[in-house]
């Protein structure tokens, strides 16, 4: 069978489009909406980290800025939070370019740590700049629609737009330049690539889409506070897990990872839908930690990156090749 990415994409899109029309449970719709939102965040993180090699521990910044742009539209400007869908992306991109201007002069772990620190700065600012953000009180808005179907298709549209845009970028000059910077920044410079400029471009696209996801979250959930949307663990680290479990440096990896991670998170949160003892729900951080260790040991390239290996493991037709350095980090 010939591999046809475009056909696969349309098939997946069709299944996802039919889902809310067949499944009427708001609970299941909600889980897929959240997973689709994570497709956007994970794919965005992947563009910067998986493809351009700049591992960010600060993606909560862009999510939070996007979410607060939407919230502040209502609380301070008195306009609909939907304006945040227009403002959130560009404002997140601005904060991205600011982050890049500061951090891109650093390489490797120094870059990672700087993004981590600046992420915490943003969280603290959101907590203490009460005049703008209402601090820990958070922002509560009345959501526009009661039906989840509208939010569902909005999230699906965002996810499709994000994955499509990134897949197009990766087939262009920009994509080649991003990977060149990941593989060897010195070689890239010698090939006429301004690493600062192209890292900034990658970060601009990445932060734009993450900001959109944030603005969507505000409109969908109706409530945000700094500990939720600027959270190191629930946003920044989750973005990394989504991309790495799914397969960093692949187009579909973060999308697959988003569904895996959101489902796992939900399984643990609900103590396996109540079938497991209650204390299980408090072990989800531990479970995620174990999962990461297992993933790095047995499928360092993620589910999508190591698909051929996993398939061989299943059928045992061919000898199982060792974990190989793939397209991931």
């Amino acid at each position: 069978m010939k591999h046809r990415p475009a056909l696969t994409a349309l098939g997946v899109l069709a299944v996802l489009a039919i889902f809310p029309l067949v499944i009427s449970s708001d609970y299941y719709r909600h889980i897929v909406i959240i997973a689709l939102m994570w497709v956007v965040i994970g794919s965005s993180w992947n563009l910067l980290a998986g493809y351009t090699g700049q591992i960010s521990f600060g993606h909560a910044i862009f999510f939070g800025v996007g979410a607060y742009s939407a919230g502040i539209c209502t609380t301070k400007l008195g306009i609909s939070a939907w304006w945040g869908m227009l403002l959130g992306g560009p404002l997140a991109m601005l904060s991205g370019l600011l982050l890049g201007w500061i951090c891109f002069r650093l390489r490797g772990s120094y870059f990672n740590l700087a993004t981590l620190a600046i992420g915490e700065v943003f969280r603290q600012v959101a907590i203490f700049w009460r005049d703008l953000t209402d601090g820990m009180q958070g922002i509560l808005i009345i959501t526009t629609f009661r039906s989840k179907v509208i939010y569902y298709f909005l999230a699906l549209g965002l996810a499709a737009l994000c994955v499509f845009t990134i897949s197009r970028i990766m087939k262009s000059k920009w994509g080649f330049y991003f990977i060149a910077i990941r593989e060897d920044q010195d070689a890239a410079e010698a090939m006429g690539i301004s690493s600062f400029r192209y890292k900034s471009l990658s970060l601009a696209v990445s932060s734009f889409f993450t900001g959109l996801a944030g603005a969507f979250y505000m409109n969908y959930m109706g409530f945000i506070d700094p500990e939720v949307v600027f959270s190191l663990y629930f946003i920044s680290i989750m973005a990394i897990l989504v991309a790495i479990i799914g397969g960093a440096g692949t187009i579909w990896g973060p999308a697959v990872g988003a569904f895996i991670m959101v489902l796992l998170h939900e399984l643990f949160r609900s103590s396996f839908f109540g079938y497991a003892p209650k204390w299980v729900s408090s072990t989800h951080a531990l479970a995620f930690g174990l999962l990461v260790i297992l993933a790095i040991r047995f499928m360092a390239n993620g589910v999508v990156g190591d698909l051929p290996r996993i398939f061989n493991l299943w059928t045992r037709k061919e000898p199982i090749p060792p974990v190989e350095e793939g397209s991931g980090l």
Binding site: K171, S172, K173, F176, Y177, I179, A180, E183, D184, D186, A187, A188, E189, A190, M191, G192, I193, S194, S195, G249, E325, G326, S327
Partner: protein, 237 residues
């Protein structure tokens, strides 16, 4: 005005002067050899020209413009390509993708970049390895890939840093032919090499340095018979 010229080029790392008051010029279409014992500053000269290090004093002129102070990528755009002594293949890309990335230096069009990359890889006789991943290449092919990648940026001057080291005699002979072919296509070359047979064979003129300073310059026979050069390499009786 020369095609390429350094004036009193000097680089100090703290108290260590790695390149000391080095002036030389290169004509269009010339193959210029830069030799010297280990640690004499040859690679540092390359790193100064391609702006991996800022120069301490002096100036570098290329085609009528002062290029010192420009960032590395800009110098590539100006028309100076380079290879690395310790090869830097983009490991998780194919040979074709490696060279395409370079070709994007002169075009933003995917098709144009691909055609250009295929053309360069034919020129370098790597057309059978287009789809090999860069990390699967032998050292000989990796060195060739370095050259192909530099050529795809369409340089007017090419800096080759020990592209023959570690190659078999057969591969070296092929490498010499390739370098001649590059020169015949109108590209000037500065070559750093330890294998004297290669240097003597290829170069129009040679500059020999030691401790970052010029000790001799001239045609290959002149340099080979220069007392200071022999002493630098072999020591004094």
């Amino acid at each position: 005005m020369s095609f390429f010229q350094t004036k009193h080029l000097t680089k100090a790392f703290g108290g260590l002067i790695a390149v000391n008051d080095l002036s030389f010029e290169i004509e269009e279409g010339e193959i210029f050899g830069l030799i010297g014992p280990n640690g004499s500053g040859k690679t540092t000269v390359f790193n100064l020209i391609s702006a991996y290090y800022p120069i301490t004093s002096g100036a570098i002129h290329f085609r009528g413009r002062e290029i010192n102070g420009m960032p590395t990528w800009k110098i590539c755009k100006e028309g100076i390509g380079r290879t690395f002594q310790i090869v830097k293949p983009l490991r998780r890309m194919t040979v074709l993708e490696n060279v395409m990335t370079s070709a994007f230096c002169r075009t933003a069009n995917f098709g144009v970049a691909k055609d250009r990359a295929v053309e360069v890889l034919h020129f370098c006789e790597m057309e059978k390895k287009l789809d090999f991943s860069a990390r699967s290449l032998t050292i000989g092919d990796r060195k060739r890939l370095e050259i192909a990648r530099a050529l795809a940026t369409e340089p007017k001057l090419l800096l080759l840093d020990e592209t023959m080291a570690g190659l078999t005699p057969q591969e070296q002979a092929e490498g010499v032919l390739l370098i001649r072919k590059i020169r015949d296509s109108g590209i000037a070359i500065i070559i750093v090499e330890h294998i004297m047979q290669v240097i003597m064979n290829l170069c129009d003129r040679i500059l020999c340095i030691n401790y970052g300073q010029e000790i001799a310059r001239g045609t290959p026979p002149e340099v080979a018979n220069n007392q200071a050069v022999v002493e630098a390499y072999l020591g004094r009786d």
